[in-house]
């Protein structure tokens, strides 16, 4: 960049002194001398005096202001008078009060207006008046210098000539270094002597619109004032009123023109002001050029030609245009340099972040609809990737079994990890084989992939016809199956039965008014934007396509085993050849005092969530208590926390998730919850629920009382066995079944939570679907050996990975491996027996538990990596 660009607006301190100080002092003294001579002429030979003063000296000033205002500011007699006290050290050097600074421009503009306008009245013809004016001004300038510091007593403030200097000299063609201020004392705002090129622009662009407005007002009125002054009739003839009416009329006219131009023409304040000022300059010389030339000519004893005015005015107009161009060019630089030197920037050490794991190379998985992408990372599921990309995808079990998160693979199916059996079964159930994958268990392995989060049912292939298959229903004569319950196991049973027989009539009786939905995710209905439809696990037309009759919002009231029919609450009866009980379980509500108060809830079904939402809003509840520190209780507490309820978990055991976790794991989990603001009370239960008309406080068995407007019981479930019991089936804690899921009645099967199979864990997705498959097969006379699925219990909460699996017992053999160093944020422990993982606990940050999960789900043989695990190399689990 050239030096000019770097410093286009030098302050006087940065300007060179082209001429020595003595020259300027000589010039000033000479000017005073001229002035005294002129004053003497005015007093003694008024005609010559007035002509020299008003026709020659004063009219030459505007041109000087436009070309090199600094010369005038160096030699002005008033400036000299003002600066004398400072130069000789007898100024009071007071700071001009801010009030006066604000007032100064008014004063100077008003003085300018009246002094100029009074020329026609007094100063053009009365010597005494003009002398008073001249010496009065000098005296006031001197007084200003005596009292106030710098040039704030006159030159930059009250001087009536200051506004017009700034207006004509807004972009001086030549600058002259201010010779009066040896050091700058910062006596005034936007000082014209400090930075002559920037002063007027700074005035006009000042953020104080009031301040900037004065300047605009002055330049906008100036052309009108010039026209009016020279076209006015003699006020001594007409009287003062018409005279001032004439003046103000013209001023208002050009003010109005200026404002209209500002409205209709898109130029900057500065450009508009500059044009107005230069117009005034040209107008001024239009009226004065003749007078100047003829006066000078007369003094020289010559006559001036009548046309002389035109070349002079043309020259002045050229000067005006030159100044305009100069100013408008400078304005660009001015605005550039006025802007703060560089927008603030915040840097992040990219290398460190990238090394930490944020990498931009490699292939991408792209969502077709949103265009968003994430890295194709073999170590991470598509679901994790989708979530990391800020996309929302419903999810359920995170094991590929529930069917909550199928995504269509538009391109790149071959680049994904191959599906396991669970996932294949789910895809088959959903009729999505070959086109979709379950996001939660599918890893993007190699190469780019394009996905659709929303699966359009119309684009899907029809489910493959089971033509080559024998219709087992026809073969066995089983043509009517009734299923009670449309949860996981009930719907899995319907699906399995339909696969075995296309002819069999299948009726599903459902107590709730909703199609099969992702019950694990009901907590999300409490917060977030999920609607119940988003939780439906099967497309609405699935039922029709599979010819399954749904009886929604219908209670099965009795089972007539003799007649083989189910009586419905509607009075209808459904005959059956085989009956499947899949009524599930209900949340256990502690038999505490007050458990029937409004505000007591369970959290299992969609209706529960709706009730909680309604109660919370109706009563403005702020605090909640969740009874139960198992998976369901913690998930419920997380959901309540997210709607800003101050939530406390009350847990009977001494540690959270005590069935699945060890103490260390539970401690990390507890700490995490507490950090999020969820309080945890362990070793206590609910003694009583207090409140007048609704829940107000929870009394605990440890004597504590917790204020709370909502109480949610997640303290376990009990199987819904009433119907089975009334029908005379053998019922224990659940409906007792054999290994084929058959109850004490050969025609009746029970699956899922309602079934009681010795040693089986309740409430797990995989268990319900596996049992449904066994029951469906057994129904048609096919025995499948039921094998409990290898299922982890996993806490479905954002921000933490918590997994529990199997048993941590090592008494009957097995080797325990866990992190040697205790950490506040990570706990891994597995028990290996005969090369198999028999038990596992994992608690850590999100995503870090995936290797353990995968190894457990694969039921992988870990013999080969035991040594590495012993050394703490947990990543070895990813290789089995």
């Amino acid at each position: 960049m050239s030096e000019f660009v770097e410093k286009p607006f030098p302050s006087y301190l940065e300007m060179p002194s082209r001429l020595p100080a003595w020259f300027w002092w000589a010039f000033r003294i000479a000017t005073i001398g001229v002035m005294l001579v002129v004053a003497w002429l005015i007093a003694t030979k008024p005609e010559i005096g007035f002509a020299v003063f008003w026709k020659v000296l004063i009219p030459s000033l505007p041109l000087l202001f436009a070309l090199a205002p600094g010369i005038w500011r160096q030699i002005c007699p008033m400036a000299l008078a003002n600066q004398l006290p400072r130069t000789f050290g007898f100024s009071q050097d007071w700071t001009l009060p801010v009030r006066f600074k604000n007032l100064a421009y008014f004063v100077s503009v008003l003085a300018f207006f009246f002094l100029v306008s009074l020329r026609h009245v007094y100063f053009n013809k009365e010597p005494a008046a003009l002398l008073i004016l001249i010496f009065g001004a000098l005296g006031l300038a001197l007084l200003g210098g005596l009292l106030f510091k710098g040039r704030s007593g006159w030159c930059g403030t009250f001087c009536p000539l200051a506004p017009i200097q700034k207006a004509y000299g807004h972009a001086p063609l030549f600058t002259v270094r201010n010779g009066y201020c040896p050091t700058c004392v910062g006596c005034q705002k936007n000082c014209y002597d400090f930075n002559p090129r920037a002063a007027f622009m700074s005035d006009l662009t000042d953020n104080d619109l009031w301040y900037a407005g004065h300047k605009k007002f002055f330049v906008a009125g100036l052309p009108g004032f010039a026209i009016a002054f020279f076209t006015a009739d003699d006020p001594n003839q007409t009287g003062l009123a018409p005279y001032y009416l004439h003046l103000t009329g013209w001023i208002i006219t050009t003010l109005g023109l200026y404002m209209a131009a500002r409205i209709f023409i898109r130029v900057s304040d500065y450009a508009a002001a500059a044009v107005s000022a230069m117009a005034a300059l040209v107008i001024f010389y239009w009226f004065t050029a003749d007078g100047i030339v003829s006066t000078v000519a007369q003094m020289l004893g010559m006559t001036s030609p009548s046309w002389i005015k035109y070349p002079i005015v043309a020259t002045i107009a050229l000067v005006a245009v030159r100044v305009l161009v100069n100013g408008i060019r400078a304005e660009k630089d001015f605005l550039t340099f006025k802007a703060p030197s560089g927008e603030p920037r915040v840097r992040v050490q990219v290398d460190a972040v990238r090394a930490g794991g944020a990498d931009a190379t490699g292939d991408l998985v792209t969502d077709r609809a949103s265009g968003r992408s994430f890295a194709a990372d073999p170590g991470r599921t598509l679901l994790d990737g989708i979530e990391s990309a800020g996309l929302t995808q419903d999810f359920g079990c995170r094991m590929g079994m529930c069917g909550a998160d199928p995504i269509a693979i538009v391109e790149g199916m071959e680049n994904l990890s191959p599906p396991n059996d669970d996932e294949l079964a789910t895809l088959r159930r959903l009729g999505l084989e070959g086109r979709a994958r379950m996001a939660c268990v599918c890893n993007a392995a190699a190469g780019p992939v394009t996905i659709d989060l929303e699966i359009d049912p119309n684009e899907l292939p029809e489910p493959p016809p089971p033509a080559d298959q024998v219709d087992l229903g026809e073969e066995t004569g089983i043509q009517r199956v009734v299923i009670i319950g449309n949860g996981t196991s009930g719907m899995a049973a319907a699906d399995e039965i339909r696969r075995m027989s296309t002819s069999c009539k299948i009726d599903v009786v459902a107590r709730e008014n909703h199609l099969f939905y992702n019950r694990m995710a009901v907590g999300r209905l409490l917060y977030g934007r999920t609607g119940l439809e988003d939780l439906y696990l099967m497309a609405p037309d699935w039922y029709e396509k599979h010819d399954i009759t749904m009886w929604l919002n219908t209670q099965a009231t009795a089972i007539d085993r003799e007649a083989c029919q189910v009586t419905l609450g509607t009075g209808e009866t459904l005959p059956y050849d085989r009956l499947v009980l899949a009524m599930g379980s209900s949340a256990f509500v502690p038999p505490a005092e007050g458990a029937d108060l409004p505000g007591c809830f369970v959290l299992r079904e969609a209706a529960d969530v709706q009730a909680i939402r309604a109660h919370r809003q109706e009563h403005g509840v702020e605090r909640a208590v969740v009874l139960g520190g198992g998976v369901l209780g913690i998930e419920a507490a997380d959901a309540l926390r997210r709607v800003n309820l101050k939530t406390t978990i009350v847990h009977r055991s001494d540690s959270l998730m005590n069935r699945e976790l060890d103490e260390r794991g539970a401690a990390i989990l507890r700490h995490f919850l507490e950090e999020l603001g969820v309080d945890v009370v362990t070793g206590a239960s609910v003694a009583a629920i207090k409140g007048n008309s609704r829940v107000e406080a929870i009394e605990l068995t440890n004597g504590e009382t917790l204020p709370a407007g909502i109480f949610v019981s997640c303290a376990g479930v009990s199987a819904n066995t009433d119907l089975a019991g009334a029908a005379g089936l053998t019922v224990g804690r659940g409906v007792v079944v054999d290994a084929q899921m058959k109850t004490s009645d050969d025609k009746i099967f029970a699956v899922g939570d309602v079934a009681e199979l010795p040693g089986e864990v309740r409430g797990l997705w995989g268990v319900g679907t596996s049992q449904a498959a066994v029951a469906a097969a057994a129904m048609f006379g096919k025995e499948i050996a039921y094998k409990a699925p290898s299922t982890l219990v996993s806490l479905k909460m954002d921000g933490i990975d918590v997994k529990g699996f199997g048993s941590l017992e090592t008494e009957k053999g097995g080797e325990e491996i866990m992190d040697a160093v205790e950490s506040d944020t990570l706990h891994r422990r597995i028990v290996i027996d005969n090369g198999q993982i028999k038990g596992a606990v994992f608690v850590g940050p999100p995503g870090s538990g995936k290797h353990i999960t995968q190894a457990v789900q694969k039921q992988a043989d870990v013999t080969g990596i035991v040594d590495r695990l012993r050394k703490g190399d947990w990543d070895a689990l990813s290789e089995v």
């Binding site: 603030p344 915040v346 992040v348 931009a360 265009g371």
Partner: protein
Amino acid sequence: MAFFDYPGSGVPNPVETEITFLADLSEAEWARILKVVETRQFRAGENLIQSGDQDDAFYLLTSGEVDVLIGSEEDERIITTIAEGSVFGEIAFFDQEARTATIRARSRGSAVRITRENFETLAAWEPGIARRMLVELGRILAMRLRWTLSIAFN
């Protein structure tokens, strides 16, 4: 730049205009942050932030360049371009109000995306890092506010 920087007249010091976000974090500490936050990969033309959206994440642009656009869809204007290594979006992270500009990728790249929920999780796992992050975000806001004030009242 001030045109009237009168000597000794108390013109304020130039505003600090460059901050390195969490300059003292080690790679290991970044790795711990990255466990709980989101990493976005994007292609040229993809919108990271859509004007009007309610999205309370701030971003660390770890690679690539993004444009900041304002105006309606028919009348979009690029007001600035953000270079690799920048931090942006922190205002909505704090006030959770709708986005006022669209951020669109100029090139392929990646960004770390930290939502309020991510931050809460980070605070639960790594309170020390989270506290430092919060102070840094405050420092960024303060710097940008100072800059804004310096424009408004210059």
